[in-house]
Subunit: 483 residues, 2 copies
């Protein structure tokens, strides 16, 4: 009302317009016309790229893709199937920067690189930082690797060969070989002058390492400490002496846990002689943290890598192996049922009820196993507290077992007979407690044998709960003379 009573002036209009726009989209990457509220590419946008590609309008495709962030270009490529992906890549050659390649899913990148000639891959590799270049090359055939390495500048080749000399998934393979290391005696002013010189600096860095003459790290300085310190102060007086050093042979899972545990942004990597050879930064680690934390669900279900971009042949081969193993455990359970064939013939209710005991036991075992595997992965479950956790899980299992036993026991007593109700209740308690025991002990045992507890535990836990479920129920039914 009030607004209608006075004429709007320019200021009003501009402010209103700006406020509206900014209120509606505080971030141009989020509430974009291309991105949905989950920050993924909108269906409509992807369709318009598809349509332009099919119509052969290369210029239109380019104009659509050009405003995207490299990570989103990578996402777009991943959304297409193999053939369309190649067409799209050809239409946006200029936009296929090294950043896009670095952001691609491993399977998609490998597939795309295999389709390119060695010199084209070498050209991309040269633009990448060492760690990304290594990722690009490490999964290719040895012949392809050699051809690409031959095309590289000597300096890049040496860096990549040095990385490839470390085992896969170790700090030495993954680290960045560009970092800033200076002696202890130089001052903040010296350092700033050196950095302003700008020779051979990494593009981004978050700390400066202080080394002695033998190139052993003696301390570290966050850049924010340097910026707030007068020029005349020596770095030795600003630096923190106590720093986390990463051995080059350390597995990426342990590296990721160290970054998490100590809240690191970057850290120095040292070789066996304690010499500084590289650094790892947290932006490379977040992928590893997410990968390692997420893979347990896939491993426990036997889905292998579980990547939707994995070739069908590989997905089939890893999953079917698991199903065959489970077929084996199912057969063992069947043998137990077969042993009680005479009882089932007399009382078919046994066949009707027996899967319930096995199924609930399986679920209870999976719950405990998931908790145990997670605690082992996070280094929370160690030799020092295994007994305490086992006691805890058995108490939870007993509570769960009794609750479910009361429910199914009562229902069975009403529908069938009170005695059969007692049998299924007792069998249920036995099986749920067994599940709790197996859910802790099986993964702990695999961990102590230096096997990944996520990989093999569930086959064993399921075998135990299935067999115990059928055995306890059918065995009690016979022992208590239900039939």
């Amino acid at each position: 009302m009030a607004e209608h009573e006075r004429p709007l002036d320019d200021d009003d209009v501009i402010l209103a317009g700006e406020e509206q726009e900014e209120g509606a989209r505080p971030d141009d990457r989020i509430d974009d016309e291309r991105m949905d509220e989950e920050n993924t590419l909108k269906r409509e946008f992807v369709s318009s790229v598809e349509d332009a590609l099919e119509a052969g309008e290369t210029g239109a495709v380019y104009d659509l893709v050009e405003p995207l962030h490299p990570a989103d270009v990578a996402d777009l490529l991943e959304l297409f199937d193999k053939d369309d992906r190649a067409t799209l890549a050809a239409a946006i050659t200029d936009l296929m920067t090294s950043e896009v390649v670095a952001e691609l899913n491993d399977y998609v990148r490998e597939e795309m690189m295999e389709a390119l000639p060695a010199d084209a891959v070498a050209q991309i590799a040269e633009q990448l930082e060492t760690d990304d270049a290594v990722q690009l090359i490490e999964d290719l055939d040895e012949d392809d690797q050699r051809a690409i390495l031959a095309e590289l500048e000597p300096e890049d080749r040496i860096a990549i060969q040095s990385a490839l000399s470390y085992p896969e998934e170790t700090a030495g393979r993954l680290m960045n070989r560009e970092f800033v290391a200076v002696p202890e005696h130089i001052t903040v002013g010296d350092l700033i002058d050196y950095l302003r010189d700008g020779r051979e600096l990494p593009e981004d860095f978050f700390e400066v390492f202080i080394v002695d003459q033998r190139h052993h790290p003696v301390g570290t300085c966050n850049l924010s400490w340097i910026l707030r310190t007068p020029r005349s102060i020596a770095l030795g007086d600003v630096m923190k002496r106590d720093q986390t050093l990463i051995p080059a042979m350390l597995d990426q899972e342990e590296v990721a846990l160290m970054f998490q545990k100590y809240g690191l942004i970057s850290a120095a990597v040292v070789d066996e002689d304690g010499r500084l050879v590289g650094q790892m930064t947290v932006d490379d680690i977040v992928h590893i943290i997410a990968e390692e934390a997420g893979e347990d669900a896939l491993l426990m279900s036997g889905a292998g890598e579980g990547d939707i971009n994995e070739p069908i042949r590989e997905a089939y081969s890893s999953r079917v192996r698991w199903l065959v193993a489970n077929l084996g455990t199912a057969l063992i359970a069947s043998l137990i049922i077969a042993a009680f064939g005479a009882a089932i013939e007399k009382l078919v209710a046994l066949a009707v009820l027996m899967p319930i005991v096995a199924s609930i036991g399986g679920n209870a075992g999976t719950q405990t196993m998931a908790v145990t595997v997670r605690a082992i992965a996070m280094n929370q479950l160690t030799r020092s507290n295994t007994r305490r956790i086992l006691t805890r899980e058995l108490r939870v299992a007993l509570l769960n077992g009794v609750t479910i036993a009361v429910l199914i026991g009562a229902a069975t007593a009403v529908i069938f007979t009170p005695l059969l109700g007692a049998v299924i209740a007792l069998a249920m308690i036995i099986n749920v407690v067994t599940a709790g025991l197996a859910g802790v002990l099986v993964p702990v045992a695999f961990d102590r044998l230096d096997q990944d507890p996520a990989v093999a535990s569930s086959v064993f836990v399921t075998m135990i709960t299935d067999s115990m479920g059928f055995f306890a129920f059918l065995g009690l039914a016979v022992a208590l003379q239900v039939v």
Copy 2:
């Protein structure tokens, strides 16, 4: 040999000693006498603390714990049970710094804070950065919260109340309210002088935000760019204009995905009007990334939070709900079996074999579901590629189904009859393909309904594969007149 021929001098001895020490343990946090090769506290070390505690030797306990990193002190506290934990905390009061409290597991921290008087908690909260202080307070009762807030300095109180005004698990709740923001026109030299003044700076920061008069972010400068730029250059000429802004209301899961996708170290948080209100740094995000990536395995198994420090009552309550839901689905499967009771009575082999079909179907469904849930969580599965992924999974399912069908069909044909072999093979293919379909469609459907696909999917998938397993096998047996 050569060494024996000449007398050792001091230099040799020192060098040899140093080399050995450094060669043996390049990092004092890894090959420590207290830490094992996985960087967790050694059993022997924990036992010696336990023994000293039991003997009441407070001084010895203090000396043992004193050299530990705060994160390791937190780990040590978590290893003990509730009572011993309180005794330990009392023995090392001086070492119970705010860093230790910030590193504690949520449940353990909450339990310890509840045992302390309000002013002691307030004292700890004041030493913490806002985000850590909020974590300390948010899970307490409202009465406790109010008592603690009353004890705080007004400035800290306002910051914490502002954080608590945002919903849990949003950027506004989690962000740090200390950051460096300067106008565009100031020079690198001005900024360095301002930082050297050192008033009210956050302890660590990785970028400087450039804001306009309305406090809207217009660009950002990594500290490494500032350090390499001459004093006279204006920040407006160094900064990057294109930056990722995080809306304060954004959920932590989406924040974590943005940090991963764009490789961020820190990012500005803006309110609805686009004003800069805080920053998030990646060291706070890594915990969220690990939590979000790891929780799917726990959610899919119905283990709730799945934290080994969760009180037994809560663990029981979340798990038993799941088991009751599974009891419901098991009963549906039983109804199907009961409908074929007459057939089972005639041929008990049906009861022996039927769990195999259900079990393999359940496993196949869980595999596909794990892959789908992970792809949805990583924003890899969107409306644009759902159909392609469904086709892919059905192809894998068909391959798996046929392989297992051949194995179990042949075995059944030999042991029982060829016709029963054909029945189980056909039922197996039907059930594994159904499992593939359900494994994709159930989680996708929950996601489209804005429900977490990890939470409810497996109850439905298992129900579908169990029911279909029994129905296809027993139904085909009757239809093909095996009995």
